[in-house]
């Protein structure tokens, strides 16, 4: 037996109480894991994109169109190395599963986004096949698509020349991300702009956004400013931001998700504090004579305080680990079923925050009972006073 063994033995002193307290902690951290992942998904998930690209949209809204002829003018702006454009296709798979599909030029995509990793043969196939389409690994896994398949896709915005909204594409490649962060973003599909523009019924010669890759050492803010200045007071005013700002701006319009998540989690942890705190307080109250005996044996006051804090920590950490593990599992399940739209990842960052929460909670619930244990008077305690 060890001091650790002693602490663990006391944890389930009353089996029902110990188990129920542990389960409360588990539920709280399950919720924490999921909500924190959602929060991260919407907010901090943009950090890894770096500062090598800027995004140009129509000044007022990215839903408005920009003409294709801006391409050459943008490419001429100093500091711009490569340019690509993307147009939202509004892809829908099998009646009502929305997909993130963009029409673009394959060579441009490859040049501006080296983070997408795909065999060169597949890049060439994409460029060579008019009706070609490449999809991210997550999407391919979610639907079980394989290279060589013909994928029927509907567009909820663009009908074809013949009026039908049913399009079909040849899957010629599956791309991965260069690292874990980018891998999580492989939830998109790309089709050939040339085919799209020719085949769709309206909006000829327009794109939604331009994405510019900057030259080495170019200042993103300066380039963005230069691009916007070029088109100011014209019929196609632009708004250019760094890629990160662009992503953040979109999320901000949905609302303050962070605030909602924080409110819910505060309510949850406040209640948890009470539940575990109550258990700890009861547990110590019942054990006053035993704690006094420990002191008679020669354990110092500090040791006794340590035992109680360790017990609180055991609940919080054990329950927290189980809860976060469950959250990771649920998150992975959600990702597998809804990968495209909700790449929920209970990742290292969430675990780190969770761990901090476990420690803070341990102290919060353990401190008062521990102090009580530390300060108890041996003689009074043994006499039952």
């Amino acid at each position: 037996m060890t001091r650790f063994g002693f602490v663990m033995a006391n944890l389930f002193r009353r089996k029902t109480r110990g188990t129920l307290t542990l389960l409360s902690v588990v539920s709280a951290f399950l919720l924490f894991g999921l909500l924190q992942a959602v929060h991260v998904l919407f907010n901090a998930g943009v950090d890894f994109v770096g500062a090598t690209r800027v995004v140009t949209q129509a000044r007022v809204s990215f839903t408005s169109a920009l003409p294709l002829r801006l391409l050459s003018e943008i490419t001429a702006i100093p500091g711009v190395s490569e340019v690509m454009h993307e147009t939202w296709f509004g892809g829908v798979w099998q009646t009502n599963t929305p997909l993130t599909t963009f029409a673009t030029v394959p060579e441009q995509l490859h040049a501006v986004y080296p983070e997408w990793v795909m065999p060169e043969a597949e890049w060439r196939a994409f460029a060579a096949t008019r009706t070609g389409m490449i999809v991210g690994r997550q999407v391919a896994d979610q639907f079980g698509w394989k290279v060589g398949q013909k994928i029927p896709l509907a567009s909820n915005i663009y009908p074809r020349k013949d009026g039908s909204k049913a399009w079909a594409f040849d899957l010629v490649g599956i791309f991965d991300g260069k690292d874990e962060n980018w891998q999580r973003q492989t939830t998109q599909e790309f089709i050939n702009y040339a085919y799209f523009d020719e085949e769709n019924q309206f909006g000829r010669g327009n794109v939604n956004i331009y994405v510019e890759k900057l030259k080495q050492g170019a200042d993103p803010a300066a380039v963005a400013h230069a691009i916007d200045a070029r088109f100011e007071n014209s019929t196609d005013e632009t708004k250019t931001q760094t890629e990160r700002e662009f992503n953040v701006g979109f999320v901000k319009q949905i609302g303050d998700i962070g605030l909602i998540v924080r409110w819910i989690l505060s309510a949850v942890f406040f209640t948890l504090l009470l539940v575990v705190g109550n258990t700890m307080a009861q547990s110590v109250r019942e054990r006053i004579p035993e704690l006094a005996v420990l002191k008679t044996l020669g354990f110092t006051d500090a040791s006794v305080l340590g035992f109680v804090i360790a017990e609180a920590a055991a609940f919080c950490i054990l329950g927290g680990l189980i809860g976060l593990a469950l959250a990771t599992g649920v998150g992975a399940l959600v990702e597998r079923k809804l990968g495209g739209f909700l790449p929920l990842a209970v990742d290292a960052g969430v675990w780190a925050t969770g761990f901090a929460a476990m420690v803070a909670m341990s102290l919060a619930v353990g401190l008062l009972p521990a102090l009580r244990a530390k300060r108890l008077n041996i003689v009074d305690a043994l006499a039952g006073r």
Partner: protein, 230 residues
């Protein structure tokens, strides 16, 4: 002549309960030589338990000196006192006070967690003392699976596992029937005669006191007879 195990010099103990001042011990002085088995007797309220607590280092006198095993323990406090207790004193209580969540062997091992002994050595020591008290076959049982007498034996084993010089017992047979009480008292005698432990035992049972070498009587916080002046 070696110095006494316990020397109490002019000790007074006062408790303050709210507005009340209660003087429980009035200027007690006594000596207990090494290897003695002493019974402390007296009516309730006589201060015998208080005196026992002072000797065991669980409490401090209001005035006077308490010297045990050569140390002025009235001068020790906090961690130093805890440490002294772990090395020098073994406690045996009326209600055993074992940890209900631990097995008998683990209960006995508890004091050894305060030493630097490796786990294997700790286990060995536990086996030895459980043999001495005659409970080697019950090592894996929990207190709620043991009879009162068996629990007290475990408590005694725990009290001697660190090999203290002095055992302090507060009504060790108070909760046991006659036959079991006799067994326990015989065990204490063995520890005293064969292992040289000095034993101070508070009891209100005259038959228990017969197992001791001598008896000290207290009444209303003062020694009645058998006192040895400092």
């Amino acid at each position: 002549m070696s110095e006494p195990m316990v020397a109490v010099r002019d000790v007074t103990k006062v408790y303050v309960r709210g507005a009340q001042r209660v003087e429980v011990l009035h200027g007690i002085s006594l000596e207990i030589p090494r290897g003695d088995f002493v019974a402390l007797m007296g009516p309730s309220g006589s201060g015998k338990t208080t005196l026992l607590n002072l000797i065991g280092g669980l409490d401090q006198p209001s005035s006077g000196e308490v010297e045990v095993a050569g140390r002025r323990i009235d001068r020790l406090a906090g961690n130093a006192l805890s440490h002294w207790r772990s090395e020098n004193v073994g406690f045996i209580f009326q209600f055993y006070n074992l940890m209900p969540v631990l097995t008998a062997a683990d209960n006995v091992e508890l004091p050894l967690l305060l030493t630097r002994l490796p786990a294997a050595q700790r286990r060995r020591n536990v086996e030895i003392v459980l043999q001495i008290v005659g409970l080697a076959d019950r090592a894996r049982h929990r207190p709620n699976e043991l009879s009162g007498g068996q629990e007290q034996r475990v408590a005694i084993a725990r009290a001697i596992v660190s090999d203290p010089q002095i055992l302090v017992c507060d009504e060790p047979t108070g909760d046991l029937d006659r036959a079991t009480a006799d067994e326990i008292l015989k065990l204490l005698q063995t520890l005293n005669r064969e292992h040289g432990k000095t034993i101070v035992m508070v009891t209100h049972d005259p038959k228990a006191a017969e197992y001791a070498g001598r008896t000290i009587h207290l009444d209303k916080g003062r020694l009645v007879d058998g006192a040895v002046a400092a």
